[in-house]
């Protein structure tokens, strides 16, 4: 009996050698299928990231027959402007009417933003709402974004690069297309690329932020040059990695020359400054009295004032001398030559230079508008013609690499 049982079970085991390997193959195939399924789920959860899915969305739009093709939207922005005239306060109402026509069949715009989300997201969403052009934005530092664009080259998914400063824009200049005249004419010529590859969107001034607890305004010098003086030892803070700071140093190099700029940097470094990661913590440190002065852009202070109220113990100081310390820079944007949504991209640039967006930059982020129809924030000092303040063509400030090398030499950058 046992013998029968044994031979029966072994009749099968003779033939099993082959099926075993097919079983193995089936298992591997199963593994592959499962991992592919995971991959599909992963992709599917973010459909917009793959171009294929975008096309599907397009078809859906076309098949909607009931949608009216063109709607005219009137955007009325009411702005209160306080003008100080002697004693009585006169409130003047400025009404701006702007018309945006939605595109019939818009492509999704991908914007790489070197400016932070809190600053530009509201106005980009506004654009999306008014034009019906869907926008996707990646946020990162301007330098990081520029490097990413260089890495991506002509395979970049980006259509528009919105940068914090001319340096970042200059670095990717070869990747930009030349902009049309009607875009360029809307911005200030001094704040744009002379070759028409990018345009300035909004202006920001370099300032000295100072702790009102530790320093009085009278103590502050005429020129930023004077901060190389040993009397400022241990009292200075700035973000050496910040792109705007780099642009300022680039301007110094153009204005003062390499030698003098290096001399200034070495002087400041000898004063053992405190390094911050960004402009904001520098301003926060001045407000907390950790440092007496900081080299920053002007608008950060106003956000602290908005958040913490007027008791925030720091104020901006605009150096009166006409040198790199009083530079007014531009945040700007350009369109990537590899874009597949040129029309939409151009609409965005025009919108950003238009009255609505410029009004936003003036009142919400406290920057200097470039559109002459828009007035600057009441909190900002009137700098006169900001383009004349320190007369330099921002398009020339693109030698970021040279500046970074210099900063490495003096030990400000690792």
């Amino acid at each position: 009996m046992t013998s029968r049982r044994a031979s029966r079970s072994f009749a099968s085991s003779d033939a099993v050698l082959m099926p075993n390997s097919t079983k193995l193959r089936a298992i591997i195939l199963g593994f592959a299928l499962v991992s592919m399924a995971i991959a599909l789920i992963a992709c599917g959860s973010q459909p917009a990231a793959t171009p294929v899915v975008v096309e599907v969305e397009k078809i859906v739009e076309v098949e909607k027959p009931t949608t009216p093709v063109v709607i005219e939207v009137e955007k009325v922005v009411e702005v209160e402007k306080i003008v100080e005239v002697e004693k009585p306060v006169v409130v003047e109402k400025q009404v701006i009417v702007e018309v945006e026509k939605p595109l019939a069949d818009p492509k999704t715009l991908t914007v790489y933003s070197g400016r932070s989300k809190s600053l530009v997201d509201p106005i980009l969403r506004e654009f999306e709402l008014l034009t019906g052009i869907p926008i996707e934005v990646r946020y990162a530092g301007t330098g990081e974004m520029a490097a990413t664009l260089l890495e991506e080259g002509d395979k970049s998914p980006a259509d528009v690069f919105f940068a914090q400063d001319p340096g970042g824009l200059g670095a990717v200049k070869p990747l930009f297309m030349t902009l049309s005249d009607d875009i360029r004419s809307q911005s200030a010529a001094w704040a744009s690329d002379p070759d028409g590859k990018w345009v300035g969107i909004s202006g920001r001034a370099r300032v000295i932020v100072y702790s009102t607890e530790n320093v009085s305004e009278d103590e502050l010098p005429e020129s930023i040059w004077d901060f190389a003086d040993p009397k400022w030892k241990g009292r200075i803070g700035f973000p050496p990695t910040n792109a705007s700071f780099h642009v300022m140093v680039t301007a110094m190099r153009l204005d003062w020359g390499e030698e003098k700029t290096k001399q200034w940097l070495e002087g400041v470094m000898a004063n053992e400054p405190i390094f911050y990661a960004k402009n904001t913590p520098t301003v926060a440190a001045a407000g907390a009295g950790e440092v007496d002065v900081g080299f920053v852009n002007h608008y950060y202070l106003h956000r602290f004032l908005a958040e913490e109220g007027p008791e925030f113990a720091a104020r901006n100081y605009y150096t009166p001398s006409n040198d790199a310390g009083s530079l007014v820079m531009a945040a700007g944007a350009g369109i990537l030559a590899s874009t597949d949504a040129q029309e939409e991209a151009e609409r965005l640039l025009k919108f950003l230079l238009g009255v609505t967006a410029q009004q936003y930059f003036a009142t919400k982020t406290h920057e200097y508008p470039f559109n002459p129809a828009v007035q600057q924030s009441e909190y900002l000092p009137d700098l006169g013609d900001i383009g004349e303040r320190f007369d330099i063509d921002l398009g020339l400030l693109d030698d970021l690499a040279g500046t970074q090398k210099l900063l490495q030499e003096v030990g400000a950058l690792p």
Partner: protein
Amino acid sequence: MIRAGVNRPGSTGAIQLEQVQTRYHPDEPPILNGFNLEVQEGEIVCLLGPSGVGKTTALRVIAGFERVINGYVRLGGHLVGSPFIHVPPHERDLGLVFQSYALFPHLTVAQNVQFGIKDATDREKRARTLEILEMCGISEYADGGVHELSGGEQQRVALARAIAPESVAVLLDEPFSNLDPSLVTQLRRQVKEIIHEAGKTAILVTHDRETAFLTSDRVAVMRSGRVAQIGTAEEVYAQPESPHVARTIGRSSFIRGTYRGGRVFTEAGEFPALAANGNKFKDGDEVSALMRASELRLRLHDTSGGEEDDWIPQPFTVCGDDCRCVARIASREFHGDFTDFSVRLPSGDTFRVRNRTYAMQIPDGAPVTVTAVRGAKVIVYPAGAR
């Protein structure tokens, strides 16, 4: 009845290993080398040997967990292992009982037993499981977790799990080594009965000679990666092939002697000799004599004769003129029913002699006369054999 298969002429053998060689690492010496073993259907064979001799490896080769680099492994006449063919373990239809039992902790007792039953409806599986649980006397624990069981119960679950599928054979690795000694005696008999009742062929690995003798139909004594001797317990005991085998199957001591006319002359006296393993000796050959405690007796040398002795003095044990009779008691182990005396010879050789307890009165250091019990012969090997 079951052992009828053993002697069936022309049988191919349920398990057959031929000149098997295997090793864990190319740089190391082989664990098995020239290993031969043939197990008939329905037979229980025990692999006996000290640890490190390759017993467990042999079991793992049969089960398919180790590959052979030389030789052949056949199960039920089918080649399952050779340098070129390796049938994986799950296709070998063998049941394994691990030393650690390896019960599945996430399953109940019944689920453990049912685990390997295949090609049956659920009802058939359940019926088979119940039958096996019954057979192994563990049906009351069927729905319990395996952690709740005692060692002996876990042991039986492991056995039940191994015999539940329609397997060719059951392999047991040191099945009783983790158990309380008082349980082992009873369990050995139970395991043997269960395996025979289930009609299984079995190979059992153990380092314990008692387990080997009591559980198996045949004992295979292993020595450095091969089988040194195989036979029934009685056969192997009666004629151990070598001093090594003799030591493996029982406590044994060897003393030097000279062979002359069917006898061996030693410092301890003169004994009838048996040449094991087909050895032939000439008069005057130097031999090594196996002194088994249970086949020897001693008495105080100078006393006039055994008044209460239960042994009958043999003429040849009388001390002659040339006998210096200086065997002395070195130490003793009192066992109750008997006492083992350690006897030291002038050359420094020692051996043990088992006596009834009355001999307790002989003091340590006393000169003694050693004789063989009636009918017993001292097994001799060529001098220097190991």
